[in-house]
């Protein structure tokens, strides 16, 4: 009997030690394993050079002896990342400590109680330096739940060589885009007029909202859906016309996400493109077919007279279930510090969330393009800030997609969207 017990004990021990080594995939020195605390930093794929981030993490380790940071990339799209976090956090997983949140998830995760309150890391005085829209995005019920890290907003890219050749100025309004694109594509071969992100996914919502806003429409007001408005119908009609009336946007736009549209434009096959700031540095490589031929301007104006770009960005939150919350918060604070933000902006090309950096001579010398972005970020509009955003976005993705692929009329799509959004919003009410 004794023998049997010991046998079981030893075999269990062996299994345990085996699984312990198997679970530790990184070759962190096992000699100091005993005293090391590990912080897992999870984020989406880094566009551009990931070297600067790694350097910063090593620096954090040096400044915090006994701490090692494991940097884990989620290689999937934002929708899949969302699902990953939701399912993990729902299961109270402690498998990551700090993570990068898409700007649209923050109120949802805060409402679900999955994020550590980080208000003490961002006192009111310190908030001044950040673009106000990012502060709004990380705030839920007056508390801060994520630290602003990287910002983005919609931009209109154009081929300055072609506009010059045919005597057009950079477009100011949607009608300018249509006019230039129709005339130039009629004369140039193998050129699409205007490409954007029309696939049924979050990117389509970002694109569509820019039309809705510039046409004077809104989605939610005072806790109710106002999506079914005359302005919004006209906005969707305009998107449709780009494809089926003016023929400046190819029909396959309904399959395009950021990268395919960026590659089309980057190969010199499109006159205009709506995209995020990241694309710029890729066109500015000398090997690019459109090197030195690209200009950037704000999203065109519509009947409402203003230009509105959709705000994007990734912000750092701390997992409520983290086993080392203070340390995790320290890492989040370090990575969002002015110092780290500058390193990332210089090396990786990230757009920092701090206004002051857009005046930094060193940064502007290296990336003169960023000078232009400050005003755009100041005016960028967040998508509806509500814990129910992801559900509402699902509805918009689907209905906008139906409208631009002519499955429904814009009006029909918006009526359906309105009913579903009201149903979602009703859940908080009695």
């Amino acid at each position: 009997m004794r023998l049997l017990k010991n046998l079981i004990k030893y075999s269990l021990l062996t299994v345990c030690s085996f699984s312990a080594t198997a679970g530790c995939s990184s070759p962190v020195g096992s000699s100091r394993a005993a005293s090391t605390r590990t912080i897992v930093f999870k984020h989406g794929k880094i566009f551009g050079d990931s070297g600067p981030l790694k350097t910063l993490l090593r620096e954090f380790e040096v400044n915090n002896p006994g701490v090692s940071v494991l940097d884990e990339e989620l290689p999937s799209s934002t929708d899949e990342q969302h699902q990953f976090y939701v399912i993990n956090l729902q299961g109270e997983s402690a498998s990551f400590d700090v993570f990068a949140l898409d700007v649209i998830w923050i109120s949802e995760f805060a409402r679900a109680g999955w994020l550590r309150n980080l208000s003490d890391s961002l006192p009111v005085a310190a908030r001044e330096d950040f673009f106000s829209a990012t502060i709004d995005a990380v705030t839920y019920r007056e508390q801060i739940y994520a630290l602003p890290w990287v910002i983005g907003a919609g931009l209109l890219y154009y081929r300055k060589d072609l506009l010059e050749k045919y005597g057009f100025a950079p477009p100011q309004s949607w009608t300018d885009v249509v006019a230039a694109a129709s005339q130039i594509t009629a004369k140039e071969s193998n050129l699409h007029g205007f490409v954007w992100q029309g696939k049924q996914y979050e990117g389509l919502v970002c694109n569509s909202l820019e039309y809705l806003w510039t046409f004077g429409g809104k989605v939610i007001e005072d806790g109710h859906s106002v999506i079914n408005s005359k302005e919004n119908i006209n906005a969707l009609k305009m998107m449709r016309s780009m494809i089926y009336d003016f023929h400046i946007t190819p029909e396959f736009v309904t399959t395009l996400t950021e990268e395919p549209s960026r590659r089309l434009f980057g190969a010199g096959r499109a006159l205009f493109m709506r995209n995020w700031p990241y694309a710029w540095s890729l066109f500015e490589q000398t090997s690019s077919p459109v090197y030195n031929k690209v200009g950037v301007t704000t999203i065109p104006r519509g009947p409402a007279g203003e230009s509105y770009a959709t705000l994007g960005g990734w912000h750092l939150g701390v997992n409520k279930y983290s086993r080392s919350p203070e340390l995790a918060q320290k890492l989040a604070r370090f990575l969002t510090s002015a110092y780290a933000a500058k390193k990332l902006a210089l090396g990786t090309g990230h757009e920092p969330t701090r206004r002051s950096l857009y005046k930094d001579p060193e940064l502007l010398r290296k990336h003169p393009f960023k000078r232009k972005l400050k005003d755009i970020f100041e005016k960028a509009r967040p998508r509806p800030v509500t814990p129910y955003y992801m559900m509402i976005s699902q509805v918009m993705q689907r209905e906008f997609s139906a409208a631009i692929s002519r499955i429904k009329t814009p009006q029909h799509a918006l009526v359906d969207a309105h009913d579903q959004i009201e149903h979602i919003l009703a859940i908080e009410k009695q």
Partner: protein, 282 residues
């Protein structure tokens, strides 16, 4: 008496797991469907049949139901027709029958996800081999008119072999005497097919139709991986809609109601088909 009880012990393990993993969840899903339940915000409120009421007015639900019905009808019809053809062919005597049967089984046996990825690549609008071979330019997966049909085509490729193999088994059970006698009577090939072959395999045809219909109606992975239900929901089936409600936004109440609707539909279809089978004669 003791022996009597012991016999049932053999059923016990199977019964227990089936209770835990199928019967109990089935009861629970009904309960869930009567709640407005958002797992992520810990919201759970009993709402009676409100979810089903909303479902009746939910255009997305009706589109998904329509897509599912279309997918089921067209794919089962095509699979039956082509499968019968292949079965008749394989029922002849030729060299390499075993090898041929393996070849035919292959599409059925490979993972659905793999076949969806394969076809996604074949359908690719820019570099897809299908457009190249047919020398056309169709946006198979990106256009609302084609996406669901593309999924049907893939399913036909994947499951026709299953149909063919089952029908072949039935064909092989037909005694040769019957054919010989018919030929003596001077019946032609068509007559034999109509008078002997089809009536003899009718029971198996019904089995296949029932199996395939129920299987096609709950289709998830094939379409989910191939098109994700897009574009604009034009290929979204009921299972995909339910899955998205449940796991993209953790709407467990309404999601369960939609999931339950799949179950109800499958139940109704089974009843109708079994009644039709009982009444059928060739």
């Amino acid at each position: 008496m003791k022996r009597f009880g012991l016999k049932y012990l053999y059923l016990l393990p199977a019964m227990l797991v089936l209770m835990l993993v199928t019967i109990y969840p089935l009861v629970h899903v009904v309960a869930l469907s009567l709640h407005r339940k958002l797992l992520i915000f810990d919201i759970s409120r009993f709402v009676g049949f409100a979810n089903f009421e909303f479902m009746l007015g939910d255009s997305r639900f009706w589109t998904a139901l329509g897509n599912t019905a279309y997918f089921t009808l067209v794919s089962v019809a095509l699979e039956l027709a082509i499968g019968l053809g292949i079965a008749l062919l394989l029922n002849r005597s030729f060299k390499g029958r075993g090898l041929m049967r393996s070849v035919v089984l292959l599409p059925w046996a490979i993972p659905t996800v793999v076949s969806a990825k394969m076809w996604e690549w074949i359908y690719n609008a820019d570099y897809g081999v299908l457009n190249y071979l047919l020398n056309i330019d169709i946006n198979w997966l990106g256009s609302p008119a084609w996406a669901l049909n593309a999924a049907v085509l893939m399913d036909v490729w994947k499951t026709t072999p299953f149909v063919a193999i089952l029908l072949l088994a039935a064909l092989q059970d037909i005694p040769d005497d019957l054919y010989r006698a018919a030929r003596v009577d001077g019946a032609g090939t068509l007559k034999i097919l109509q008078r002997i072959t089809l009536p003899m395999i009718l029971p198996m045809i019904w089995v296949v139709v029932i199996f395939r219909t129920l299987d096609a109606f709950r289709v998830f992975d094939a379409v989910y991986v191939l098109t994700g239900g897009g574009p604009a929901g034009s290929s979204e089936t009921l299972s995909i809609y339910a899955y998205n409600l449940l796991f993209q936004t953790l709407q467990f109440g309404y999601g369960s109601a939609v999931a339950l609707s799949v179950f109800i539909c499958v139940g109704l279809i089974t009843l109708v088909l079994i009644r039709a089978m009982r009444r059928s004669e060739w």
